[in-house]
Chain length 148, copies 2
DNA sequence: AATAAATAGTTGCATAATGCAAATAAAAGA
DNA sequence: TCTTTTATTTGCATTATGCAACTATTTATT
């Protein structure tokens, strides 16, 4: 194992920059954290506050306030959950869905541009590698796991 | 291209968690940002403030204050640069070097554990993939590039 | 059923991080 | 010399963070 950390560091740094470039849609400017929250709500199935906060590995109190902001921005909706009245179910408003889709499209466009510098074979290999890496981090006992 | 963004998102999320776990050494508790600053100073060659701030893609004013904190913590040294008296050269103190090395070792240990779930061949493939990905992000015109 | 313990979410508060605008100081260009 | 650019710092206002404590509700224990 050579300078593995350097490899990962460079990669995450660049991917982080890509992510940061993708937080503005129309007149709406999101923080990176807010864009991640929208992303998670979008892909989880009727999640509660706690579940999303866990998925993002974010303190619930900070999360609660971020959600308040996003609700005020009319991007997120909080619905009381009848089966357990302590719980709120989070969902995206139509505007939230739109913004999230736009961001998703932009990130994918950027990623597509990056992959355009590879051959089809290389692309497949890279994606398979990332999939494998994700599985191994999932398996890992000592790190990398959020709580969901 | 299927759900490529999801793949990358999962990966960066997990790697981010790994990184966050690695900010405490002995009595010293670092923020993630501070640990990245130490990392960059360590690998750059006698960098100026501006150069490190650019490499991390961080606003120079925030960076300036982070450096003040790290100097107070006795992890970083600021040396006036005689050839240009506006400039300060940054370096790690012995204690800073120690902390940085410890963090490096811990991250590598975690990564090693992750890679232990792969065959030798898979490991090589994954590392080669990341190298390739980094090169392609380097080439990319529209994103992912810090300024250094 | 009654009470205790656990859970979901919010708020108070203090601290840290952020970034724009403006300042200072030094170097480079005209 | 005078103007412009560059490196770094500070003022200030805003936002983010997380612990402790709170409310409300559910679950467990007796």
């Amino acid at each position: 194992m050579e300078n593995v950390r350097e490899l990962f560091h460079t990669m995450t740094k660049r991917l982080g920059l890509l992510d940061r470039n993708c937080c503005a849609v129309g007149g709406i400017e999101l923080s990176l954290v807010q864009s991640h929250i929208l992303y998670e709500i979008d892909r989880m199935n009727e999640p509660s506050m706690q579940q999303v906060a866990d998925a993002i590995a974010m303190d619930i109190t900070t999360f609660s306030r971020q959600i308040q902001t996003l609700v005020k921005m009319n991007l997120v909706k909080k619905t009381p959950y009848p089966q357990d009245r302590r719980v709120y179910i989070l969902s995206l408003t139509p505007e939230g869905k739109y913004v999230t889709a736009k961001i998703d499209a932009e990130v994918n466009e950027y990623l597509g541009e990056v992959f355009s510098h590879m051959s089809e074979f290389e692309r497949e290999t890279v994606l398979r590698s990332i999939r494998l890496l994700n599985e191994c981090m999932e398996k890992s006992s000592i790190c990398c796991k959020p709580l969901f």
